[in-house]
Amino acid sequence: MERTALRRRLSWQVATVTDIRPETATARTLVLDVPDWAGHLAGQHLDVRLTAPDGYRASRSYSVSSDWRGDTIELTVEVVPDGEVSPYLVDVVKVGDQFEVRGPVGGWFVWKPEQEGPVQLIGGGSGIAPLMAMLRAHATSGSTTPVRLIYSVRRPASVIFVGDLKELAASEHVDVRLVYTREAPAGEPRVGRIDADVIGQYAFTPVDAPTSYVCGPTPFVETVADLLVEAGHDPARVRTERFGPTGG
């Protein structure tokens, strides 16, 4: 195994916040300039390290929500109540501030444009972030691979990337379906979690042999992955990424 060639050591790099985009009341996207960023695959994450004035440090992992475009990367962060790093990133950090990042990490929950077969994306809440990187990589590469996104949110105001999703859904190759669990917009009668009916109605079928990417809080991911397997999807083609209850 050519481990030496592939296993490059990751070092901490300085990231500078160049722009901030509010997404929802509790989430925002940080645009970062990271000189000499080595590039990433859609779906990978990185570690953020914050250092307090007295030297105390804390690190957490965040998915990159942008596709690879040189030294600019975007993180989309939602506040975890009682979290340690996310409240700083969402409520405190401002344009011009710097912190450290290390990555990219993770070679499994990724989509590559040259990959065969349709792509089924299913996200819950801020679990949309790595899926958005995949949608953007799909658009940037001009891929004609069919992609379907099922995105579970509490209410219309909880939709992250609302503008981007509208643009992406204009593509004939991309289908975007929102599922509202608490409160739906006018004209959308269904309120409830993703269930077998939603999977049956909106997801690719097992015959389509999609690769599925499921990201969200653990109970969401457990439920959706089970639904896909029960619907007949090959478990080996269902990739999951979970946000634990103690993340943050």
Partner: protein
């Protein structure tokens, strides 16, 4: 000290008895790469394959017939949570490997669902590793690796393969699932060996 964030205070949940960069949790978070396999104990088996190709097999009744141990250990996940004094019941790998003829230096743990993780043999022996089937006095939940998981608590918890079904012993070190995906080949939490090259 690197870049200082003036407005960052932190919650200071790290403690001297935790490995560097870890924080304490009371929950038991779940981390896995795919759907949870549901394996019935009547279909369960555990197979050790030595470097010469010899197979040693246990079914569920065979595992239950072996002397079990109560294990209380701290566990550390590479995603930074640690949980102290977790209680397990299981069979020591010293017991399972006692009659296995091998001089192998490495093992690859294989799981139902296709997961793999690599470990040095010396980390599996001498009271350091178990096949655990009870957690906190109850059968291990499927989402936490039941009916039986590997338990190697001195390494990051991804080494404690959930839904374990066997070990393949080898003279050479191959890389498992997360190790191939950029994680450290050994994973010592006290040395903070999270990613390749750490």
């Amino acid at each position: 000290m690197g870049i200082v964030s003036e407005g960052f205070g932190g919650r200071r949940r790290s403690r001297a008895d935790l490995p560097p960069g870890q924080y304490l949790t009371q929950d038991f978070p779940v981390l896995s790469a795919g759907p949870t396999p549901h394996i019935r104990t009547e279909h369960w088996e555990f197979v050790v394959t030595s470097e010469s190709g010899e197979r040693y097999r246990w079914d569920w009744a065979g595992l239950m017939g072996l002397p079990a141990e109560e294990i209380t250990k701290d566990i550390h996940c590479v995603t930074r949570w640690s949980k102290l004094e977790t209680s397990w019941k299981g069979v020591s790998l010293d017991t399972l490997l006692a009659d296995v003829e091998t001089a192998a230096d490495f093992a690859m743990a294989h799981s139902y669902g296709g997961y793999t993780t690599n470990l040095p043999m010396e980390d599996l022996l001498d009271g350091q590793a178990w096949i655990a089937y009870e957690y906190d006095g109850e059968p291990v939940d499927p989402e936490h690796g039941g009916p039986a998981r590997l338990l190697v608590p001195h390494l990051y918890f991804w080494k404690s393969a959930k839904w374990v079904r066997g070990l393949v012993l080898s003279d050479s070190e191959d890389l498992g699932f997360w190790e191939t995906a950029g994680y450290h080949e050994y994973g010592d939490p006290w040395k903070e060996q999270r990613y390749a090259g750490d």
